[in-house]
């Protein structure tokens, strides 16, 4: 039974997809509504776009932006370092280290960021001096908190400790996600626990750590706006300083929003590239 050689018209039949007329009409109507809303936003004098445009690249706004970025980067680096240490402690077999790490995460993740911020800022008012005195040896060092506990430093300390609480859980989840077989293979080759953690487990854990960390960085960027409460010269504070004088509140808030959105977009794009780098062993 061989196939007939002549062409059968049935062979050329193709399937025509369903025509979703309702969907097309709905999309068209939505587009019109969106354009109308956009038009009203753009032309509404309340937003004061021309004023916003004027302040967009204002020196104090840009300097505030710089402070915000500096805060975010510094805090994130410290948070990752502290968080990794806490995560390793949390995974350790020693009960003390485990308990300490759990307590750390509980406290610093539990209290609201703003409260931690205000607390550390006021620490210098309560604790006048930090010194280390040993019996028979005398005072090793002594420093006045007012000297170094500036608003900026308080903000960094407070938010780093707070953020480290989240990072510890992220790193711990990442480490746990690396299969047991990897540590067994490393162990069977004679690698000790420290070597295994740093050479085998953590590099592979990065694939699971990077996406939530990117998330946290973006959140942190916005959380830093809280520092305006302790008079740190960040982006929001700079904008507030201006509209306290000129009462152009909404346009200046639009400027702040724009810059936050801009930086978040840049961060999201960088995260994409970082994920690609750490996932390169996944590519075929």
């Amino acid at each position: 039974m061989s196939q007939p050689e002549t062409e059968n018209p049935i062979d050329t039949l193709t399937v025509v997809p369903v025509r979703l007329y309702g969907l097309w009409i709905g999309t068209a109507i939505s587009l019109v509504i969106i354009l109308m809303i956009a038009e009203s936003l753009i032309t509404n004098p309340v937003f004061g776009w021309p004023i916003a445009g004027k302040y967009l690249f204002h020196p104090s706004i840009l300097s505030g932006l710089g402070q915000t970025l500096l805060l975010t980067v510094t805090i994130m680096v410290l948070a990752i370092a502290i968080g990794t240490v806490v995560a390793i402690m949390r995974l350790s077999t020693s009960l003390i280290l485990n308990a300490f790490a759990s307590a750390y995460i509980w406290i610093f993740r539990g209290a609201p960021a703003l409260i931690q911020l205000i607390f550390w800022f006021n620490l210098s008012m309560v604790v006048r001096e930090i010194s280390l005195t040993l019996p028979f040896v005398g005072t090793l060092f002594s420093v006045k908190t007012n000297d170094f506990m500036t608003p900026f430093v308080s903000a960094v300390v407070a938010l780093s400790l707070h953020e480290a609480g989240y990072m510890a859980e992220i790193v711990r989840a990442g480490i746990n996600s690396v299969g047991k077989g990897q540590t067994e293979a490393a162990g069977s080759l004679g690698m000790n626990q420290r070597m295994t953690l740093w050479r085998i487990t953590l590099p592979q854990a990065m694939r699971f750590i990077v996406p939530p960390t990117g998330n946290e960085t973006i959140n942190l960027l916005k959380t830093t706006s809280l520092v305006t409460f302790i008079a740190v010269n960040d982006l929001l504070y700079s904008a507030q300083a201006i509209y306290a004088r000129t009462f152009e509140t909404i346009p200046l808030l639009m400027v702040v929003m724009f810059w936050y959105l801009f930086v978040v977009t840049v961060l999201s794009i960088s995260q994409y590239f970082i994920e690609q780098y750490y996932g390169k062993s996944d590519l075929d």
């Binding site: 299969g179 077989g181 069977s188 004679g190 690698m191 050479r199 590099p203 062993s281």
Partner: protein, 267 residues
């Protein structure tokens, strides 16, 4: 050297023994998995361990390189304890760093390959020699190239595990274990996770290794391989060695009824 002779004399360990077990017991909480395993693997021989699941064969294998801690009994590799020391008639666990040093002389090949997925084949092979033994990078790389050639994967040095087939990954895993110049190679069901087509290439590498004089302990279901390559066949059942002997003899005419039962199913 003194401690080595002490163990030999004390327990009656044959001089050429690479793996010696006597009365090895292992419990996971209340569950006793190994109930007194006695075994001796002389240097340069291949021992194949077969048995039903739950018999403890994988657990015993993992006790040899201390991936599982022994609950009782004597387990020596080349005359030495791996995870513990015998002092004044008691067994004391040793520090992690010392245990790892001793473990470096034992190679293991896993059922699920366990290649380091963030490293290429070459990097997988040079990692342990450089980090654990302090071998200079150039020397480690040269040895790695040689080993990969030996297992037939000279062209895959820069491939990531994800880009390799199961059989290729397992061969890289064997090469990785060989890179540490182990005294004995342990195989934990090395071909159980492979497509039937790929099993052959791994068994060939194992056959070559056996021929070159490597001491091997293999937990496997591959009866053909055991029959051909093993110097001793060990049948484990319910945590003890139920029967042992020459593979050909044992497979054809097993002595114990349990062994007969098991072999009937496997064939």
């Amino acid at each position: 050297m003194t401690s080595k002779t002490a163990h030999y004399e004390e327990f009656g360990v044959p001089e050429d023994s690479i793996v010696f077990a006597r009365g090895v017991r292992k419990s996971f909480g209340d569950l006793e998995v190994l109930k007194g395993v006695n075994l001796n693997v002389p240097k340069g021989t291949v021992a194949c361990i077969i048995g039903p699941s739950g018999s403890g064969k994988s657990t015993f294998l993992r006790c040899i390189n201390h991936l599982e801690k022994v609950s009782g009994g004597i387990l020596l590799v080349d005359g030495e304890f791996i995870g513990y020391d015998l002092r004044n008639g008691k067994l004391y666990e040793v520090r992690d760093s010392l245990m790892c040093k001793r473990r470096a002389n034992i190679g293991m090949v896993f059922q699920s390959f366990n290649l380091f997925s963030h490293m290429t084949a070459l990097e997988n092979l040079i990692e342990a020699p450089i980090m654990v033994k302090g071998v200079p990078a150039k020397e480690a790389k040269d040895q790695a190239y040689t080993l990969l050639k030996r297992v037939g994967l000279a062209d895959k040095t820069d491939a990531y595990p994800r880009q390799l087939s199961g059989g290729q990954q397992q061969r890289v895993a064997i090469a990785r274990a060989l890179a540490m110049n182990p005294k004995v190679l342990l195989f934990d069901e090395p071909t159980s996770a492979l497509d039937p087509e790929l099993v052959g290439e791994v068994l060939q590498v194992m056959r070559d290794l056996a021929e070159s004089g490597m001491t091997m302990v293999v937990v496997t279901h591959e009866m053909g391989f055991a029959r051909e390559v093993a110097d001793e066949l060990i049948f484990m059942d319910q945590g003890v060695v139920a029967e042992r002997g020459e593979p050909e003899e044992m497979i054809v005419s097993p002595k114990s009824p349990r062994t007969q039962e098991f072999l009937a199913c496997v064939r």
